[in-house]
Symmetry: C3
Subunit: 350 residues, 3 copies
């Protein structure tokens, strides 16, 4: 990923509010402050790393406008409103080179049903499978080895990475990004117990995914038992996340890696779930709820709740209880001491 | 998934015990009570939603025989023993249209070893790979992009969905269903530490899966170090579940999403593990054990145990302890008060 | 996996230090002590199973040199330094037959870009995709349906199993083994919130994997936001593990199944994380840290720390607290009793 920008080009890309120092180096890499050297672009995206700026050898550093320090000789500070956003602008430029827009057309090794509809501007990569009745809209990119099942629909400008699988009848919105190995529309986990065995409940619903949704590698979204499992516009889902059947996820949520959402649960908009959190089935999580990593949500939560722990409780309470729990050895001692004192007191008083 | 049934057809399919009201609408969709409208079929599968019946706009509603309410005008109540089972019957009818039985034969894009045995009634979909010595029995359906390794055996009527991977020498029973991305027969995680590095212990066993087993999307089952990893008849496994090497799972178990079973552990029959539960290695879980979601099972459990928490303890005890733990702030206060009282008492008595 | 060894051949393979008893049986299977029968090779790898030796019917049993018992008639004990290592030697022999070295060459069904470089001794299996600029070094084996993205590099003697996916620009070292469905180089989970939506932060870094690394089925490793996500030489990762963007994992670590490592966290060398453990983002875990299964690591840990629980604390303390927590019902009773006693004392003293 060798790149090549002059300091002036970087300043223009990030729309720098001001500068300190100067450099004649050409920027060839983006790197972390502590590991940076000449020819690198570094940035202060997290105050945690403020102390690293002094020692950073990067030729150009993106910093908040109010940053106090001074650059080293031959080093340029670019002052911006938000160094992370500024870096994103630079990376967006690099991104174009990394993933150039592919040429439209269907790779000869792909297997496309005669009655599937593929827009002329779409790119169907090698060894993809598109089943009967599927619809691939304009500028969609199926990178390679992607599966699109019967009557499935892929919205404009969506990008499905290698090995993504979209089962029968599922619908993806526009600009949806699926990382490699994502499975959309696997059967929900539903059985009725009878005669000593689990009898499968047919899962004949579908999955409907809104515009601008992104889903991480090897995550799975089950089709509904009937009607639909839905993921709202703008929601972002990390790797290895499980979304059960008939779940409804609102708009602009963030689900971190390895989260699991059990069947028929409803998440509102702007919900944030930390990594490995789990949500029980048939409950409702209000708008803007935030849950810490590994939290276990097992009951309805009002909009705006901030919770942690398993079972999840308000985060402040959970912190306090965690501390007190670690003081249990002391508490047992104190209670033992009280018991002795009282026993002594009783003896002496008798 | 547009369907079309008359009220009379639905009544016949579900074997209604009785009816209230009537409708002339044609049923075109299955939907949840709260979201239902004219032309919909709804059902009361969970008492949690009883209140939704009154407001439901569905043309036909499946209800338990003892349901007290009355239908709205132009609405039909169908009274049945078990509305969930009744709905399943309707869905089974819809299912036939969704996944029609594919025509037998081998897709020209599939790569099948010359010495693999594929039954004439089997369907090998596009871009599947079948290695040397593999055996595909009658009416098996490999949907697309499925991999079947050397000498692997797939039993009659099994259905392997896109991207499923069966490694060398693994055996699947009859009517096995593998959702997309399932991996059967990956190497077990076994190393001996020596000379400052982890030396791989060859994993030369296999995986044997019984009849009527279903495994969810992107779940993984490791091959045994030697002998076999086994999953008993009728067991159902959800998405993103990990089954370690040399694990033995009994018959008719239910493993919910993201469960992990460590190596060499034995599960009896009819074991139920909630989502994200974890089971330690080299332990034995008795028949009919039930563990809640996120439970951590780290020791043998007698048949019939019902446990929760991490480490898992009897569920009733775990609930009590969870409540008491949340009362720790109060308990610390009470102990503090006792200490003051006693200090005061001592002073006054001296 | 039928094999055939004479007792003498086994003795030679395991470099037996001594023998007790004798057998004329041919060894055809490796099996567990308790399930073993004539023609089987068994071993005592875990003292937990010592009691099983007496009843074992195996023809040959691998035992530690100091094992006290005597073999049954027609049974041979082979005394070795480490029965597990000895068994590994036998399994390594079996392994050769199970996975014979494939013939070099590119399968006609593979899709290989004209400007990709594939070494003559490499094996590219059926339906693999190799994109432009990718480099496949000597003796690499891409088994089937593997994807190697633009400019990616696969080191000498690496083995990528079916469905493994290596995204653009990622680098694998030598002798790397990827189990089926592994995803290397998926986008990191990074967004900036603005205008009521999550704006993607381009993930333009890469993934660099050292020599002798193994990664389990369906595990995912995200590419860096910039610079690199790295996994050190000799580290072994189990199934369904998530490694976030910009994570740095040291050498010779063991990450058990379903572990999750959040973004920008650093693990030292020889770190061991139990199954389903989770590590927060932007923290540093020292060399040789050991964490139990399901542990939640949310702060820096000094080298050599041994922790458990969530949040993770020193293992000994965590055990004690777990026991005391389960005694909370008793503690509440004791405090209640003290309160009554004191109330009584006060009354009587007034």
């Amino acid at each position: 990923m060798e790149v090549s920008f002059t300091a002036a080009e970087i300043a223009a890309i990030v729309q720098a509010k001001g500068t300190r120092g100067a450099t004649t180096d050409v920027v060839r890499r983006v790197s972390a402050l502590a590991e940076s050297g000449p020819g690198d672009l570094a940035f202060l995206g997290n105050q945690k790393y403020k102390a690293d700026v002094a020692g950073a050898r990067a030729s150009v550093i993106l910093l908040p406008a109010d940053f106090p320090g001074e650059p080293a000789p031959g080093q340029l500070f670019l002052l911006v409103d938000n160094p992370s956003v500024a870096l994103a602008r630079v990376c967006a430029r690099i991104e174009r080179d990394l993933w150039p827009r592919p040429a439209p057309g269907i790779h000869p090794s792909a297997s496309v049903a005669s009655d599937a509809r593929v827009a002329p501007s779409a790119t169907i990569g090698p060894l993809c499978v598109i089943e009967s009745g599927a619809v691939i809209h304009e500028r969609v990119h199926l990178q390679a080895q992607v599966f699109v099942g019967r009557n499935a629909v892929i919205g404009e400008d969506s990008w499905l990475m290698p090995g993504a699988i979209i089962a029968t009848e599922c619908h993806l919105g526009r600009r949806v990004q699926l990382q490699p190995g994502v499975v959309i529309g696997s059967d929900g986990f539903g059985y009725e117990f009878g005669g000593g065995r689990h009898v499968k409940v047919p899962q004949v619903g579908t999955v409907v995914i809104g515009d601008d949704v992104e889903i991480g590698a090897n995550s799975t979204v089950d089709r509904a038992r009937f009607s639909r499992t839905s993921i709202g516009e703008g929601t972002k889902i990390d790797n290895l996340v499980q979304v059960g059947h008939n779940v409804s996820i609102g708009r602009h949520c963030l689900l971190c890696a390895q989260v699991g959402i059990s069947g028929s649960t409803k998440l509102g908009d702007y919900v944030v779930l930390g990594g490995q959190a789990g949500v029980a089935g048939h409950i409702t999580i209000g708008n803007g709820v935030k849950a810490g990593g590994r939290a276990g949500l097992n009951a309805d939560l009002a909009a705006g709740s901030v919770v942690n722990g398993n079972p999840a409780i308000p985060m402040m309470l959970e912190r306090r209880i965690t501390i007190l729990t670690q003081r249990l050895p002391e508490l047992f001692k104190r209670v033992g001491a009280l018991e002795e004192q009282l026993a002594g007191a009783e003896k002496s008083s008798s």
